[in-house]
């Protein structure tokens, strides 16, 4: 049987482990990965549980095809209830951990309760052991991975772990694996830390048996050939996701100084380009499991306290994040990135928090009494980065405030001004990216309605940047969508389509960057149906897969309604996006900000397409149609 991966429920309070198979009817509803993760969170999380404590759950979910021959099927979902937002925690990680988890016979781990002393899980060939991790507590994420490999005498073991940020219950802490990969957003490392779970080590020799091996192999090869023919695959194979930076920076679609300007204000923009990285730091480029694109940069730090250290990454998003608050060269950005990786901190969330606090400092809302004597001027970014990162990881001083994320910062600092909420930019409590959203209604709607809060990986509808013929967009989205990225027309349809599509991708376990995310020529529903058929013998039509995406997205919405009490008010981008236009950039960008009336109309359309009422609550009819009226069903 190709689908032999089990769900293991590990109760760290009682020390009990139960293993269960996944019924096929549940597969047909949720596939795996993010879908079954949402199901498991909804079923296992005690309603309204505290995010830091034994009642929260950490759910690790490999995609249904993770570890298979499907191209770039490397992904794992990490989630629970977010200590950053109070809503769903959900983060997707690449690398090699997920495939190894599958080879060890497991697809989902539900970790509940809390241990009294530090532990790690040793998952291997159908077995799970809870092992003492006292000797690992206090180690960084690189040391931890290596120490476990040495202890278990197997260099092929893959380890996911937290750093000291997770140990210290920093809400922006993440779960990491390898030199680069992270379940970065929504505080998965904090959930693990609160359970005294330092790491999960996996090693499997059970393999995966495709239903139709020859066809699976042939189709994978055909798909790879097509993927590698695209312009975007070639670009990614050299520049990684950073290939986007030059385009967004040229257009005026990057924000600096917390969104005060869209023109690089910290020196010469050439120093920030990927070309400069190639010249000065690149030592190679690597790939995640079964990926032919190879977009993971490799580098060595040249100077500073960590000179000589090897690292991988960063992605475009992190390059953008560190640049937005004043780091103006690769040496400083790579140091910040590497420190975050050692401590186990979400770089996107941390940089958002830092630039927000820096603007409060710039405006005199907070001073050195609040910052513990640190000068948080933009021009001082290089000096403060290592110190702020350390304070965050240790949960001390101003770092303890930053590490709580947007909601914690607002709660802590609003006593100094009623404007704090305006300058700390977030959606649903998750920090906004460094991209300009205010001129792109589709991007704004996407980050605002994203179930996990401000984030592009839930719905980023980048295709309206390519000026594709509108017939192409209509064919793709099933209705009229404007190809002008500043237009509101059809963008609710576009965002919803991407939300559901990326939910399907995350259920399958392949990389989003090898989907329609970047190009309409990359794999989509038809190809996924074939991958699923040849690898699992399960047949799905495009419509059935799309409905699974709808079910998963709606269930995540239900988790947010139950746990965080979200309403329509939580589906808006930061207020600044409605009030301030940018001075610079190309003509389509200059002076534009969101129009509230048009945004409201777009949001109404979006709810209607989803089958939710005008407060964003799924209707009974929708729940019934998607068979969500039976949840929580406790089938597994």
């Amino acid at each position: 049987m190709p689908l032999t991966g089990k769900v293991a429920v590990i109760d760290l309070t009682k020390g009990e482990i139960t293993k269960t198979s996944i019924p096929e009817d549940l597969r047909r509803l949720y596939l795996g990965g993010r879908g079954l993760q949402a199901y498991l969170i909804y079923n296992y999380l005690k309603p309204r549980a505290e995010t830091i404590g034994p009642d929260n759950v950490l759910v690790v979910s490999a995609g249904i095809l993770t570890g298979s021959m499907a191209p770039a099927a490397s992904r794992t979902q990490w989630g629970g209830k977010s200590p950053v937002t109070g809503a769903i925690a959900s983060s997707n990680m690449g690398g090699y951990f997920g495939p190894e988890l599958k080879f060890a016979g497991f697809e989902h781990l539900v970790i509940k309760g809390a241990s009294k002393k530090p532990v790690y899980l040793w998952v291997h060939d159908g077995e799970i052991e809870v092992k003492d991790a006292s000797h690992l507590w206090g180690k960084d994420t690189f040391e931890t991975q290596q120490a476990i490999r040495e202890e278990l005498a197997d260099e092929d073991i893959k380890v996911g772990c937290i750093g000291i940020a997770g140990e210290n219950l920093v809400r922006l802490a993440n779960f990491r694996t390898g030199p680069k990969d992270a379940a970065g957003r929504t505080g998965t490392g904090c959930i693990a830390g609160s359970k005294k779970l330092k790491a999960i080590a996996v090693r499997g020799r059970l393999g995966l048996r495709p239903a139709y091996p020859q066809k699976a192999l042939e189709y994978a090869k055909e798909a790879i050939d097509k993927i590698m023919m695209t312009k975007v695959a070639k670009a990614m194979g050299v520049d990684g996701t950073s290939y986007i930076w030059n385009v967004t920076n040229s257009s005026g679609l990057l924000e600096w100084m917390n969104g005060q300007t869209n023109r690089f204000p910290f020196g010469d923009w050439h120093d920030m380009t990927i070309e400069r990285f190639h010249e000065e730091y690149s030592t190679g480029i690597a790939a995640c499991f079964n990926c032919t694109v190879h977009c993971r940069h490799q580098f060595r730090l040249k100077e500073g306290p960590l000179a000589g250290a090897f690292g991988e990454g960063p992605e475009y998003n992190t390059q953008t994040a560190f640049g937005t608050y004043g780091l103006n060269n690769w040496g400083d950005m790579l140091l910040g990135w590497h420190l975050a990786n050692l401590y186990g901190i979400d770089t996107t969330g941390w940089c958002n928090a830092v630039r927000g606090v820096m603007e409060l400092y710039q405006r005199g809302i907070i001073d050195k009494k609040v910052t513990g004597g640190l000068d948080l001027s933009w021009s001082n970014a290089k000096e403060i980065t290592p110190k702020l990162m350390e304070l965050t990881a240790k949960n001390k001083g101003i770092g303890a405030i930053i590490g709580r994320g947007p909601l914690g910062i607002i709660s802590e600092l609003s006593k100094y001004s009623d404007k704090v909420d305006y300058y700390i930019q977030h959606c649903k409590g998750l920090g906004k990216l460094g991209n300009v959203d205010r001129v792109q209604p589709s991007f704004s709607l996407g980050i605002a309605t994203s179930t996990r809060g401000a984030d592009h990986l839930r719905s980023r509808p980048a295709l309206d940047h390519f000026n594709l013929p509108e017939q192409v967009l209509e064919k793709l989205y099933g209705g009229k969508v404007s190809s002008d990225y500043t237009s509101y027309d059809g963008k609710a349809r576009m965002v919803r389509w991407h939300e559901l599509t990326y939910a399907v991708v995350d259920c399958i376990g392949t990389c989003k960057f090898q989907t329609v995310f970047f190009s309409p020529n990359l794999p989509a529903y038809e190809e996924w149906s074939q991958y699923l058929l040849y690898n699992t013998a399960m047949e799905f039509t495009k419509e059935e897969l799309f409905e699974i995406g709808e079910r998963v997205y709606t269930l995540e919405r239900m988790i947010n309604l139950r746990e965080a009490g979200h309403t329509r008010a939580d589906d808006y981008p930061p207020e600044r996006s409605f009030k301030e236009g940018h001075k610079y950039g190309l003509k389509p960008v200059r002076g534009k900000h969101l129009d509230r009336k048009k945004y409201e109309k777009m949001l109404d359309e979006y709810y209607e397409l989803h089958g939710w009422d005008n407060k964003g609550v799924p209707t009974q009819e929708t729940l019934k149609r998607l068979e969500l009226d039976k949840e929580p069903s406790h089938i597994v």
Partner: protein, 63 residues
């Protein structure tokens, strides 16, 4: 089996879109600068494995 929506057969390695007006720009081999014929936006051009790419705007800092 594997269908491309746009139906395009070959990638256009030297063709870029103007970021301002979206006109196609056919970049001469190894050119380091190029001005969009339609809107006059001037770009710094780089090359990646034979593919042209936009590095930035020549007049990035000009108001």
């Amino acid at each position: 089996m594997f269908k491309a929506i746009s139906g395009r057969k070959q990638p256009r390695d030297r063709t870029l879109r103007c970021l301002n007006c979206f006109a196609r720009m056919d970049i001469p081999q190894r050119a380091e600068r190029y001005t969009c014929a339609k809107c006059n936006t001037e770009y710094e051009i780089g090359w990646r494995s034979g593919q042209a790419k936009i590095l930035g705007l020549v007049n990035y800092y000009k108001d």
